[in-house]
């Protein structure tokens, strides 16, 4: 059975989806079979990074939650992105998007859904797609999806920016993850300006939370220019950002 990795941050705008997509693709380049679930049902977005428009997806996670299809029917094989960037196609990557339809999002807010079904879905994806890793891109803050994802995860990646609000919120999430006995937890500092001393920041974060920092990702102009139109580490495999992503992947594999 494969491993579940949740990528989370307490606050929005930290770069969760970008980090998830880049870690996922880096794992796939190494030959692993990777699934990425967008459980950010209230504000989905990771599909954009994989070049999918809302009308491209026949089914979304919402359809599975309403019993309209199997969750494996929602999975889109986006492995072609690896070969289109001249990467080896040893591994595979699947995306399980959430719906961008207003009516689907509001239905979740109005009616709720069976949380057990979501949990069953994670397992069905691991088995049905024979995944080595299932990555969960979560909604920021704490809600049912987040708490479920953290609870069932083998590893939790917490993203924070060098920002006081992020620091305080991360303390809450670290506390929750400890209460939920997450087997492995790492922090990733993202959008770190070049003027920061990365080693010093890493030490400061590690001493504050007593959690290892798997990587310090620099803020980079190219990321803004890309504007979620591609997976950064595929487009710029030798960029310092991509090198840090690879070291985060190695940290998760260790």
């Amino acid at each position: 059975m494969g491993n579940i990795i949740s990528v989370h941050s307490f606050r929005g705008g930290t770069g969760k989806s970008n980090t998830t997509a880049n870690i996922g693709c880096s794992l796939a380049i190494l030959g692993y079979r990777v699934g990425i679930v967008d459980t950010d049902i209230q504000s989905p977005g990771i599909h954009v990074l994989f070049g999918l428009e809302s009308e491209d997806t026949e089914h979304a996670l919402n359809d599975y939650l309403w019993g309209r299809c199997d969750i494996t029917d929602v999975a889109r094989d986006v492995s072609h992105l690896l070969t289109s960037h001249n990467q080896p196609d040893k591994g595979s990557i699947f995306l399980i998007p959430s719906s961008l339809k207003t009516s689907e999002i509001t239905r979740v807010l109005r009616e709720g859904y069976d949380v057990g079904l979501l949990n069953d879905g994670f397992q069905q994806l691991l088995q049905g797609l024979d995944l080595d890793f299932l990555m969960i891109d979560t909604h920021p803050g704490l809600n049912e999806e987040t708490l479920l994802s953290i609870t069932v995860s083998d590893a939790l990646v917490l993203i924070l920016r060098p920002d006081r609000q992020d620091f305080q919120g991360t303390a809450v999430t670290v506390d929750v993850a400890r209460q939920l006995d997450v087997p492995k937890m790492v922090l990733v500092a993202n959008k770190v300006p070049a003027v920061f001393n990365k080693d010093s920041l890493k030490q400061q974060i590690e001493s504050t939370y007593s959690v290892p920092v798997a990587g310090v990702l620099p803020v980079c102009e190219e990321m803004f220019q890309l504007g979620s139109s591609d997976i950064f580490c595929l487009r710029y495999p030798d960029h310092p950002y991509s090198l840090v992503i690879r070291s985060i992947v190695q940290h998760l594999l260790d």
């Binding site: 009516s103 109005r110 069976d114 609870t151 209460q179 939920l180």
Partner: protein, 107 residues
């Protein structure tokens, strides 16, 4: 092993476990539930005790509590976590007609 049983008011008690309930539970109950959720498969009392490195006699009363709360179900001597529904964010009964009309328009 069992802490005092602190049943959270207003929880999904009896209709399955809401993940948010986990944070309100005594340590002994939460430890069992998180382990079972991560393992996924149905487990016997002996298997649960082995996973926790605890004597079965200590685990049994906690399982009875979880069963009573509706957070686990039992079948053929095995236990499985029963998850409930995600809490709706919009309580239609409390909505003004104007707000309801907005949501109807959206959905």
């Amino acid at each position: 092993m069992s802490d005092s049983q602190d049943l959270s008011n207003g929880s999904t008690q009896g209709v399955g476990l809401n993940p948010a309930d986990l944070l309100m539970l005594p340590d002994a109950q939460r430890t069992i539930l998180t382990m079972m959720m991560r393992r996924q498969s149905a487990l016997t009392l002996t298997e649960i005790a082995e996973q926790l490195n605890a004597p079965s006699e200590e685990v049994a009363p906690v399982m009875a509590e979880l069963l009573q709360l509706g957070y686990v179900t039992t079948e053929n001597d095995t236990y499985q976590v029963k998850l409930g529904r995600r809490t709706p964010r919009i309580q239609s009964k409390r909505q003004s007609p104007r707000v309801a009309a907005v949501w109807d328009k959206l959905g």
